[in-house]
């Protein structure tokens, strides 16, 4: 055993507190340590090279790097070590930055002592380490994308264009997501559907993309490379293959209900397409509102008129099983419901609307044909008050985060309003303007120069006074309270995860943050991967994002998927549990606690014992903790390794009792 230890300065981050020279001196004295040195930035190219050269020069067999957090650079160093010919599982990383210099910045002596003790402990562990080889599993060359907004569309196209098959599942009747609802988009003001609809059509036409609209993922089993997915196709009551999209049925349908695509501001029939450019252009009967029930058919107007006989009132939900190698989650966002924003009179007054309502009201394809009319009386509002951060940046609402896109779309709304009603007055209440993006600040400056009055301050109350809405607020720049009479109030509600995101997260066994957005592994280093291998994130499902960011991230997720699919097999961490058949009594305790159901009890030669499926095992160690016989161990973190490590840590603190000393010899 020839151990090399490398201690990093991290500039002044570590060396400013920890006395690295002392650390090196102390460690160099230890048994089997052939070489010990310090270096200013080990993660740098020359730093890594030093490690590699020393490995070759001194024939080192085991390596310790004492530096920052392994979640930051664990992979960097294990790759470097591997490239120099040392098995990466014979490498240990010790965190002497977060755990020493940062937490004990006021006590350099303690920080130094602790650094030494931590390195000693990992050395003790390393003595019992074994070289491990990654596990290979076959990889199905097909991908599931959940959510058909711009994020899901981009991911699907990128992957399909690279030649792999994609199943795209969208729960609403059409592709497009929120972006389909938007009028023009900041900062370029290009028409949203002009950039979106060609992509939607491309998805529908693409030979490699299997599109499931009006469908939901019901069950997900398996692991990276081999997920078994159950998709439920909701009944449209219209046979897609027969429907020509002529729309004859719509004219005769007697049922009129609010159109959700128009935010309830316009109407649709019980048989409908959400919007004229919908993809696929197949009609759907919403059976909640249709006069018919499963048992009783009262109205058959659409059935009678439909030329190709596409209508089938007896259609049933249909389940489809698919197998895929990877999954991308792109389920998008929603706006905080109005009921949560009562201080702004939301839900109370018709003329207090959300930003998405406003998008529909200014959209040429919207319910008013692009003429801005306020909901209460249809008049063209001569003034508008926009209220930003409605629910966002508000710890008391439980939403301390910034929703990120509202500053920009409010500026856009103000500008479009000025175009529609040039003599109209616009007020924007804001906390700060956050316009960090390419050409974003310039855009806001342009709007501010366009006769839009920006008021820095919060609104306390909104109420009706005769025909007008009154907004009470404060202008924190002048320190005065302000009262604005206006025709229309537009809120920028907080962005929240889409409905059902929690359940989906459970199904996929991926974590969400405290607000319900899906969590990535590391925001900086692995921003599109989840803790479940083979499952990736794209778009506003992860956090509030505008379109550019969404698209960029979607392409990033696609490229991660492609680099996975470029191999025939998926490589899995070998840090999995294994059973010592000799000791195992087959009691099954481990099987019960395994959260991933990786363990079965098998019978062989009249003996029962536990068997681990390495492709499913996540190396969590629950089994190892519960086994009374110490028959099951996680590779790389065996009982032997961990107790050696703990003992080494305690050694400096307490005198090792005789008994423990005895035990050590085992």
């Amino acid at each position: 055993m020839r151990i090399g230890v490398f201690v990093c300065h991290c500039g002044r981050n570590i060396a400013g507190i920890v006395d690295v020279k002392t650390v090196v001196d102390e460690i160099a004295k230890l048994k089997d340590v052939v070489f010990c040195t310090d270096y200013i930035y080990l993660c740098s190219e020359p730093g890594q090279k030093t490690i590699q050269e020393k490995i070759k020069e001194l024939n080192l067999t085991h390596i310790i790097v004492a530096a920052c957090s392994p979640s930051l650079h664990g992979i960097t160093f294990s790759r470097a070590v591997e490239a120099a010919g040392v098995n990466p599982y014979l490498f240990e990383m010790v965190n002497i930055r977060e755990q020493c210099s940062w937490v004990h910045s006021h006590n350099p002596e303690l920080a130094t002592k602790k650094a030494i003790s931590l390195i000693k402990a990992s050395l003790a562990k390393l003595r019992y380490s074994q070289p491990l080889t990654p596990i290979k599993v076959p990889l199905i060359q097909k991908v599931l994308v959940i959510g058909g907004g711009i994020a899901g569309i981009r991911v699907a196209l990128d992957i399909a264009q690279a030649g792999f098959e994609v199943c795209l599942v969208e729960k609403s009747p059409s592709l497009g997501g929120r972006m389909a609802q938007l009028s023009e988009t900041f900062p370029t003001l290009d028409c949203s559907s002009c950039i979106l609809t060609p992509l939607m059509v491309e998805v529908a036409r693409h030979k490699k993309i299997h599109l499931f609209t009006y469908a939901e993922v019901k069950k997900v089993e398996g692991i990276i490379g081999n997920f078994k997915v159950t998709i439920e196709k909701k009944p449209r009551y219209v046979i897609p293959e027969k429907c020509t999209g002529c729309g004859d049925c719509v004219d005769v349908c007697p049922v009129v209900v609010p159109n959700e695509f128009d935010q309830g501001l316009g109407a649709r029939k019980a048989i409908y397409v959400p919007f004229p450019q919908a993809v696929p252009l197949v009609y759907t009967i919403d059976f909640e509102n249709c006069l018919n029930t499963e048992k009783l058919i009262i109205c058959e107007q659409c059935f009678k008129i439909c030329g190709p006989k596409a209508i089938d009132f007896l259609m049933r939900p249909e389940e489809i099983q698919i197998e895929v190698g990877a999954i991308v989650v792109a389920t998008g966002y929603e706006l905080l419901p109005l009921e949560a924003l009562k201080e702004y009179g939301a839900g109370e007054y018709e003329d207090v609307i959300t930003s998405l309502d406003f998008e529909r009201l200014i959209s040429a394809s919207g319910p008013t044909g692009g003429i801005l009319r306020r909901p209460s009386d249809g008049r063209i509002p001569k003034s508008v008050v926009f209220i930003q951060c409605a629910g966002s940046r508000s710890p008391e609402q439980g939403r301390p985060y910034c929703s990120k896109i509202c500053c920009m779309y409010t500026a856009k709304h103000a500008l479009i309003y000025k175009h529609l009603v040039p003599d109209g007055e616009v007020y924007v209440f804001y906390i700060d303007i956050r316009a960090a993006g390419k050409r974003y600040e310039e855009f806001v400056q342009r709007v501010m120069g366009d006769g839009v009055l920006y008021l820095r301050g919060k609104v306390s109350k909104v109420f009706r006074h005769n025909e007008k809405m009154v907004v009470l607020g404060v202008d924190t720049l002048s320190g005065k309270t302000v009262e604005v009479e206006t025709d229309l109030v537009v809120l920028a509600p907080a962005i929240i995860p889409s409905k059902g995101a929690q359940e989906l997260a459970k199904m996929l066994k991926i974590p969400v943050d405290e607000f319900g957005f899906f969590s990535e592994i590391h925001p900086k280093l692995r921003p599109v991967e989840t803790t479940s291998p083979g499952i990736y994130l794209a778009g506003a499902a992860q956090s509030p994002k505008d379109i550019s960011e969404t698209v960029a991230q979607a392409s990033a997720a696609a490229s991660k998927v492609l680099s996975l699919l470029s191999q025939k097999e998926a490589t899995l961490e070998p840090i999995v549990a294994y059973v010592d058949k000799e000791i195992c009594k087959g009691c099954g305790l481990c099987r019960r606690v395994c959260p991933f159901k990786a363990i079965t009890i098998v019978r062989e030669d009249k003996k029962r014992y536990a068997k681990v499926e390495p492709a499913i095992c996540q190396g969590c160690g629950c089994c190892m903790a519960i086994c009374e016989e110490n028959a099951i161990n996680v590779a790389g973190f065996t009982y032997q390794q961990l107790s050696a490590q703990v003992r080494a840590l305690l050694e400096d603190k307490y005198e090792v009792s005789k008994k423990t000393a005895e035990f050590r010899k085992i």
Binding site: K342, G345, K461, F463, R464, H465, V470
Partner: protein, 274 residues
């Protein structure tokens, strides 16, 4: 039905708000229950308990809760909005902080320990939940039909949210109550605007200006009477009308009464509050 309910009056109801207490006790009797004044009580603890990290300030309210507990009540009713706010907040505070409760109990070693078992209710929610609006509607003798009423909440019944008896932004419990009495609650967006509270002591003109806007809003919406449940609001809304006249000479007054007074007018016989 005979129901005896522990009742915590608080100081103001024994001084400036005598008619509040009198009418409430009467209303209870008509509705078939009795508000039994706790045989022992003292200051509710009032404003200071709002600063939650100061344990000493929880002692007054908790001590009152101990009285209630020792007398065998698991629920007490208050009338004054401030008493409700103080006691309810304190109660919640000790229920959620077992360690702090232990310290408070230790401090009052001469008293039995408080176990967190008393529920603090405001008369309004008690009426709605326990007595039910239906029962009140049935008990109406003189319908108030045609009377337009502005329901003023102030802040203490509604904030902070955790002890608010209704939605803090758009409450409607008073309106619902007025409706079952036959009265017509008016649209009143100023119902939760601040009355100016303690500014009345040193800056009465601030209060006058605020109250002016509140009352004007009520009148503009055709209210004939304003009702409230807070003695301080009541004071500001009535007594400061004189100041208002000095600032706004055109101002014409409007009667402001406790909600229990208006209830008594509907439920009782020949009771005239205005």
């Amino acid at each position: 039905m005979k129901m005896n309910i522990g009742y915590f009056p608080g100081c103001t109801l024994k001084a400036t708000a005598l008619n509040f207490e009198k009418s409430a006790l009467e209303v209870a009797k008509i509705l078939g229950f009795q508000l039994e004044e706790l045989s022992q009580w003292h200051c509710c603890g009032t404003v200071p308990s709002l600063s939650q990290d100061d344990l000493l300030k929880q002692i007054s309210p908790v001590r009152n809760l101990i009285y209630a507990q020792s007398l065998g009540y698991n629920k007490i009713v208050t009338l004054c909005s401030m008493c409700y706010n103080t006691l309810a907040q304190s109660n919640l505070f000790v229920k959620e902080n077992k360690e702090k409760l232990r310290k408070i109990n230790q401090f009052m070693s001469e008293m039995p320990d408080y176990d967190g078992g008393v529920e603090v209710k405001h008369f309004l929610s008690f009426l709605k939940e326990q007595i039910t609006l239906e029962k009140i509607r049935e008990s109406v003798k003189t319908s108030l039909s045609g009377i337009k009423i502005a329901c003023y909440y102030g802040c203490l019944l509604l904030r902070p949210k955790i002890i608010g008896i209704d939605d803090s932004e758009q409450p409607k419990i008073l309106e619902e109550l007025m409706q079952v009495l036959g009265a017509e609650p008016v649209y009143f967006p100023y119902k939760t605007e601040c009355c100016g509270a303690y500014h009345t002591v040193i800056k009465p003109d601030i209060v006058a200006r605020r109250v002016y806007r509140i009352l004007e809003n009520a009148k503009e919406n055709k209210a004939q009477i304003v009702i409230t449940s807070c003695p301080l609001c009541h004071f500001n809304l009535t007594k400061r009308q004189e100041e208002i006249k000095k600032i706004y000479p055109d101002f014409k007054g409007i009667p402001v009464v406790y909600f229990t007074e208006i209830m008594l007018q509907a439920l009782g016989e020949n009771f005239k509050c205005v």
